[in-house]
Symmetry: C2
């Protein structure tokens, strides 16, 4: 209901401006098709067995005494000198039993609650780039103004379900408190859930607290109905740093979901073979997820995958490669083997929004969708291997996501859809443009694209010969003009402002 | 063997020029994965039943008395006045029994024999555009010089398996004999099989005769080992013109494969619903394939699909849409239901080689591959809804096809690929760049792209900030420089020249 009213309001403003950007309505996306299986059961078992050997024989290095205590209490073998934790399969399998196979994430707009698990598919805004780029203003360092614009665009474009962890770093703000500014922007400029920064316990707690304020609920209520999520990156190979595990523990303790994503670029952070990379990714992801359950059995957690290759000539990361697409599919097989919700990405390595950016993103997107991903992270705006958040790339990505959403929509298949009578009504060699069957359906029969231009060459030339990149610029500019800030109870707004002010002072005082 | 020697020769020339374009070797591509199923058995049965009602109750209009005779002899009900042939399911099913589920196509280079059927996947050059475009010389009408260049590129790029029917029309040549010039170019500038023009019996026969000459075999030997193929387009809805059926009959009589492809744009040539479009496509395709078997039981034939939608605002054709991707998959389900080799396309509707051209092509390519296509026609060079053959698009497409070929390559999965010892050899937090496991594999571990650039932003900028489109121009220019005409026995060359000269005179004299 809420989003319908909001949508109605938006339409009326767009009608006044006469410039509505065609887009699909906000919706929960479901992938109705069985995921693709690239590996048979025997090979899946071999991957699992290798992962278990990695965990039990080689172990994972952690910098946190608390994590060592937790695993030791669970029966793991902890080498305090080397800071290596070796975990037997039985401990891991026992822990995985309590992970929910599916969970929800509820923002301050309950109508936009999303599900992570099952056949639900969600798309996340790009997260983390130090730079930002658009065709008009060029490439620049991350800053709060651009952060806010990307947040507005994430709110505006219905296919973006969740805000990633810091779409761009607002580097003009103090590093130790800028998370407060970005959380504040997320909660005031959009009504979406977001990833909070889990570098240390405090940043995670600020995200949890601020979402609870925005929703007008207590931390206990948030525990029963998670509102924020985080990603814990593993410093592959086999290393988890202190701040990350602190963040993980804070989130798990409060019942907020944790995605554990090893950073596994083949040939650099893993062996050069995909089988080995996946075995290592699997070991590292399961280690982190095991930790969430040792902290708080039943806490929601996601299996994260980020396996791609590097350019072996330069060591530069590559994305959207054939190997990356395969990894996206097999990682899904692994996640389902353990009954875990599955997060992956659809990244690309291009330096510019060009053909390469498009085809690499498509390769990775298809891999993710065929792999049964529940969340495609970095799905809108990722450029330059993740070093730049791009306005035009965001528009391109929204088009790619919308195309995929429509591909996943089941086919209407009633008697009338089979159209025998319609075919009978048109003579051989005739056409169906004016037939009643067409007229009654044509406005909704096909996906209406946002970025694609289907004019013939003459009309397209007369209209200025604008290619898709130029049109993408016009679309994000229009979207920012059409954007309307979602209503927020002034009392909640005040409470959020006060929280940020207080915490900013505390952080400044502590000299963290 | 032949292509290895040829490849060796090419490499040595490239080494001299110092400018090798990285590309995959010539290969037979197999799709090892089960095709995607968008429709369940019940819905497939409903599609089939609707198609059979279309054929038996509504019928297909044909302009040829001979075709009416053939169907009448087979028991169909022929309305001579309306020129409508109504065919019962039993006639169709009986005819389909004799279609080979798989066949080979052998060019003058037997090492490049391709299979059409089973899990074989082949890629065809774009066919038919009246215009041609490249970034240096702009858009122009089709001509023989560009025809020849595209033929050279099809020979040069190993991922292109077959030359389509007239990549561009050489419009400066007489319309009634230009097929001789294009066949001659196909057979001298490349060593690939090609689609011959089947507008009328004579054009088909010229293609068959010239391929037989090039292979040094008789028409009887060609009958046992097909060398050319054609596409018969249905003028949907439900109309087959005279020239097309003459061409079909000539090909089938001589044992050369016929692809029957209805031209079914939803909302224009079919009802606006995908289910109806597929039912109609299926009826029309099966009608043409039935004709091939009535002419010559056992003649090779392919199920052709070209179902996409139009822009309902303008009536302009759209390709690479979500509907087109679904159609590509379900058409594959239909083809396999009848045990027929399956041809489809991966078209796009962009007017320029831009983001749209890339993502629409990717959507359609994934639909085709997931649909189990045996031939993706128009797979390299298609632009502007098929009205332009584009040099840069061809390069983009080769990259897309190569990525797909690598995606389809089964994963190495030996004990050593699982890499436990390699993982053990690198400490937590270390890297694998210099490890023995990496060093012994890194040159071949990953697909090396042709068009993608994975330099970091700084290096890329220093190298001139060339986007993928600019690089595509450089690649086709380099490919034309590196191209080497495949050797051809001078006696065969002479015979081909003489055939063309004689036929040109005959055609001029006949005033056809």
């Amino acid at each position: 209901m809420t989003q319908e009213r909001r949508g109605g309001g938006r339409r009326s403003r767009l009608e006044r401006s006469g410039s509505a950007i065609p887009q699909l309505p906000w919706q929960r996306v479901e992938n109705p098709y069985p995921p693709m299986q690239l590996l048979d059961e025997e090979r899946m078992e071999a991957l699992h067995a290798t992962s278990m050997r990695i965990l039990s024989e080689l172990g994972i290095r952690v910098m946190s005494d608390r994590v060592m205590d937790i695993f030791e209490a669970a029966g793991a073998i902890v080498d305090r000198e080397e800071k290596i934790i070796r975990v037997d399969e039985s401990i891991v399998m026992e822990a995985l039993k309590t992970v929910p196979s599916s969970f929800t994430l509820t923002s301050r707009n309950p109508a936009k609650q999303i599900t992570l698990g099952g056949n639900a598919l969600t798309f996340g805004l790009v997260a983390g780039p130090p730079n930002v780029h658009d065709r008009i203003n060029g490439r620049r360092q991350g800053n709060l103004a651009d952060y806010k614009n990307f947040t507005r665009l994430a709110h505006f474009f219905n296919s973006i379900h969740i805000i990633g962890n810091q779409v761009v770093a607002p580097i003009e703000l103090p590093a130790n408190s800028r998370h407060l500014d970005t959380y504040h922007a997320n909660l005031t400029l959009s009504d979406l859930s977001f990833h909070c920064t889990a570098i240390g316990r405090e940043r995670a707690m600020d995200g949890i607290n601020m979402m609870a304020i925005a929703r007008g609920i207590t931390l206990d209520e948030m525990r029963a109905s998670p509102g924020v999520i985080t990603i814990i990156s593993v410093n592959s190979p086999r290393l988890l740093d202190d701040a990350m595990t602190d963040g993980l523990i804070a989130m798990a303790e409060h019942g907020q979901p944790v995605t554990v994503t090893p950073f596994t670029l083949m040939g650099a952070m893993t062996p050069v073979t995909l089988a080995a990379a996946l075995a290592q990714q699997n070991a590292e992801a399961l280690f982190g997820i095991t930790l969430t359950q040792l902290v708080n059995p039943g806490a929601p957690a996601m299996y994260g995958a980020f396996t791609s290759n590097v350019d072996m000539k330069s060591g530069a990361p590559a994305f959207g490669t054939p190997e990356n697409a395969k990894a996206n599919i097999i990682a899904g097989q692994l996640a389902r083997r353990y009954n875990l919700p599955y997060r992956t990405s659809n990244a690309n390595a291009s330096n510019v929004v060009d053909l390469q950016a498009a085809y690499e993103t498509e390769m990775a997107t298809w891999g993710a969708v065929l792999g049964g991903a529940n969340m495609i992270y970095h799905a809108a705006g990722w450029l330059e291997g993740g070093l730049t958040a791009s306005y035009e790339k965001l528009v391109l990505d929204v088009e790619i996501l919308q195309n995929m959403m429509e591909f996943l929509r089941p086919l209407p298949f009633q008697e009338d859809d089979l159209g025998f009578e319609a075919i009978k009504s048109v003579p051989a060699g005739g056409h169906f443009f004016g037939s009643e069957h067409t007229m009654s359906r044509y406005t909704t029969a096909f996906y209406q694209p946002m970025l694609s231009n289907w004019q013939n060459y003459g009309s397209w030339t007369e209209a200025g010969s604008k290619d898709a990149l130029e049109r993408a610029t016009e679309i994000w500019q229009q979207a920012l003009r059409d954007y309307e800030e979602p209503a927020l109870d002034p009392a909640i707004r005040e409470e959020l402002d006060a929280y940020v002010a207080r915490r900013r002072e505390e952080i400044a005082a502590s000299g963290e």
